[in-house]
């Protein structure tokens, strides 16, 4: 049975590297815009045609190159949206656009205390009853008790200890079958232990470092479909052995900015 999924995306019309706020971004490493546009459209085609996702588009805005990474718009749970509070001023300008979009779409918008950072589905993801919240690099751990109370979900905070994996979705991906795809060294031993306590060894799929650095964990899982950046062969075979249908997509233009498949989408339902 195909699972219906609605995803928020943003065309990469103004995507580029205009500042450096993570170790992947270097202004000297310019984005090939045509190539980026081609890769993005390819991803959209896979999501719509192969995965069966429904795509909602937010209009790109000049001067906001990272608006394309809609995973960081906020989180959506049922009819409620919680917009992000970005840590860096460069991305704080995106907040109003995402918030307006949520309101226009009829979501009930609930906002967090402005004193605390929260970077949306980039840092908060999980299984239906247990969520994981990345903190320290971008989001503030203090938002999780609030979100947990609002949505009646357990949220296990996980400290991100490697600057290259600055959002939780760059190193951890919960799959629809209950497995967890992740790169353990991105967490300290407390985080690794907490994950090991929670998820049986047979369900923990460890991504090798070389592929973690290609953002193998930055995958979109809809039902049995997994869309992930191309070139992660070991990860692919791990997933195939668990019965997933794989859709590798080349996204290296977006990797220049520290983002891949998952960063380019926000699950709406």
């Amino acid at each position: 049975m195909e699972v219906m999924s609605r995803l928020l995306v943003c065309p990469p019309d103004y995507f580029g590297i205009e500042y450096e706020i993570n170790p992947w971004m270097r202004r000297s490493n310019a984005v090939n815009s045509d190539q980026a546009v081609r890769q993005w459209h390819h991803l959209m085609q896979v999501l719509e045609q192969h995965v069966g996702a429904v795509l909602e588009r937010i209009n790109p805005v000049p001067g906001l190159p990272d608006l394309v990474f809609t995973a960081n718009a906020g989180i959506v749970v049922g009819g409620t949206a919680v917009p992000s509070r970005f840590r860096y001023a460069e991305r704080q300008k995106e907040e109003a656009y995402f918030e307006d979009w949520f309101r226009e779409q009829g979501y009930e918008v609930v906002t967090l205390d402005p004193g605390h950072f929260f970077e949306g589905a980039g840092d908060l993801l999980g299984f239906p009853d247990t969520w994981f919240g990345g903190y320290r690099q971008r989001s503030d751990i203090r938002v999780y008790p609030t979100l947990s109370e609002w949505f009646h979900r357990e949220i296990i905070p996980l400290e991100l200890v490697d600057k290259r994996f600055y959002h939780l979705d760059t190193c951890l991906c919960p799959l629809s079958g209950g497995e967890l795809l992740y790169f353990p060294p991105a967490f300290d031993h407390y985080g690794q232990e907490a994950l090991a306590e929670r998820i049986a060894p047979s369900r923990r799929l460890v991504v090798p470092e070389a592929e973690a650095l290609r953002f193998a964990c930055n995958a979109v899982c809809v039902g049995k479909h997994v869309v992930l950046p191309a070139g992660c062969l070991e990860t692919e075979s791990l997933l195939i052995s668990r019965g997933y249908l794989l859709h590798p997509v080349p996204l290296d233009e977006f990797m220049k900015s520290g983002g891949s498949a998952k960063c380019l989408t926000l699950a709406l339902d």
Partner: protein, 414 residues
């Protein structure tokens, strides 16, 4: 030893995520300590847990470093309120609901900062000076109308006693009193402390004075020479007593008896019961104990040693006193004030063979000062130990044996 401390709150799914473990480990690894208070564990998976943690560190700088390190993990400093202050309604009367002190170090929050309460002692009130931002204990009788007195418990924190660093009898954090315990090691440890304190005292260090509060049984039982030697050798610097101890001490010098007993012969001498009265009368005629010693009338004993060494003596009278001797304070409130004034600078207290003076002194001592209570009646050390001081050692033995053993340990040749 004083510690800086701050209370932090941690909430959320802190147990399964091991965030609580991480925060506690961080505190310890950085050289701090903690007390876990009010840990509420969520009853369901969704329900968050909460922990209130008191973080302590040996310095304010380290405390701030620790707080800085644990804040990213969600530990937030508990917002504290200032203590409540009410004006004393009349002289000698505390406002209703006044805060009554314990003998433990205490801080009050005034204008958003923790202020150390000076002169800590149990069963007093706390007066706050808002201009100088200071706080000090005050006895009920000394309150002046309008004084700002702390009321309620908000904004007041009591600092639990830390385990002492020295590994001796005072560091075991036990207040057991037993006649069966061997005394030798305890007396050995006390002697070591006296040696350290005397060295500090001679260097002029603060907090190195030794106080002895004692009763006349010291003289009757034969501890007079040992105590006089301890004072002469500068092991004891402050003496609290009543009328009887000095009276019988000087009776020995003038008549060779204490309470009529021949001191050397060990039996009642004819008309011996008059000797202490004659002694008191003699000293009253001379005008003061000091004059009696300086003029050579009284040559030996405890009081002579005190005068020679300039020891600070507070004599507090009671209703059964004869005389009394000049210098005995007969107003008990005044006597209490004089004893209180002698407490600062004390590093060890020996409470020997006097229920009255032992309890009165115990009430005046902050818990941070180690104390030894020696009495043949187990009820007295027990009463003192029940004050909850980790550093109160009780010894059930007679005063003379204690003082003689202690003096011998320190080199006295009897």
């Amino acid at each position: 030893m004083m510690h800086d401390e701050e209370t932090v709150l941690l909430q959320g799914h802190i147990i399964d995520s091991l965030i609580l473990a991480k925060v506690l480990d961080t505190i310890l690894m950085m050289g701090g300590t903690f007390d876990l208070q009010d840990v509420q564990i969520g009853k369901t998976r969704e329900e968050p847990s909460r922990a209130r943690i008191i973080v302590r560190a040996p310095s304010a700088k380290l405390l701030s470093e620790i707080l800085h390190a644990i804040q990213p993990h969600g530990a937030s400093v508990e917002s504290e309120r200032d203590c409540r202050l009410s004006a004393a309604p009349a002289d000698g009367i505390f406002p209703e609901e006044f805060y009554a002190t314990t003998h433990l170090s205490t801080q009050v929050r005034v204008r958003d900062q923790w202020v150390e309460v000076e002169g800590i002692e149990m069963d007093l009130g706390i007066r706050v000076d808002l201009v100088g931002l200071t706080a000090r204990t005050i006895p009920m009788g000394q309150v002046t109308r309008g004084d700002l007195i702390v009321t309620g418990r908000e904004g007041v924190r009591v600092i639990p006693l830390q385990r002492p660093r020295d590994r001796d009898v005072f560091s075991f954090m036990e207040s057991q009193v037993s006649a069966e315990r061997p005394h030798v090691h305890i007396i050995g440890d006390i002697a070591k402390r006296l040696v350290q304190l005397r060295a500090g005292f001679r260097e002029g260090k603060v907090g190195n004075k030794v106080l002895l509060a004692g009763g006349p049984a010291i003289v009757h039982a034969g501890g007079r020479e040992a105590l006089a030697w301890l004072i002469d050798e500068e092991f004891i610097h402050v003496l609290f007593c009543g009328n009887a101890l000095p009276a019988h001490d000087m009776e020995v010098d003038l008549y060779g008896t204490s309470l009529g007993y021949g001191h050397a012969a060990g039996r009642v001498v004819p008309h011996g019961h008059e000797h202490h009265l004659r002694t008191i009368n003699r000293i009253r005629a001379i005008g003061s104990i000091e004059a009696a010693v300086r003029s050579g009338v009284v040559k030996t004993g405890i009081m002579a040693a005190c005068v020679r060494r300039g020891a600070h003596v507070v004599m507090a009278g009671t209703v059964r006193d004869d005389g009394p001797l000049p210098g005995v304070i007969t107003d008990s409130v005044e006597a209490q004030a004089a004893m209180r004034a002698a407490i600062p600078g004390i590093g060890l207290a020996l409470l020997v063979a006097s229920t009255l003076h032992a309890v009165a002194t115990g009430n005046l001592l902050p818990a941070t000062i180690p104390s030894v209570c020696v009495d043949v009646n187990p009820a007295v050390p027990t009463k003192l130990a029940d004050r909850g001081s980790f550093q109160a050692v009780g010894l059930v033995m007679d005063a003379a044996s204690f003082l003689r053993e202690l003096a011998r340990e320190l080199g006295w040749k009897s």
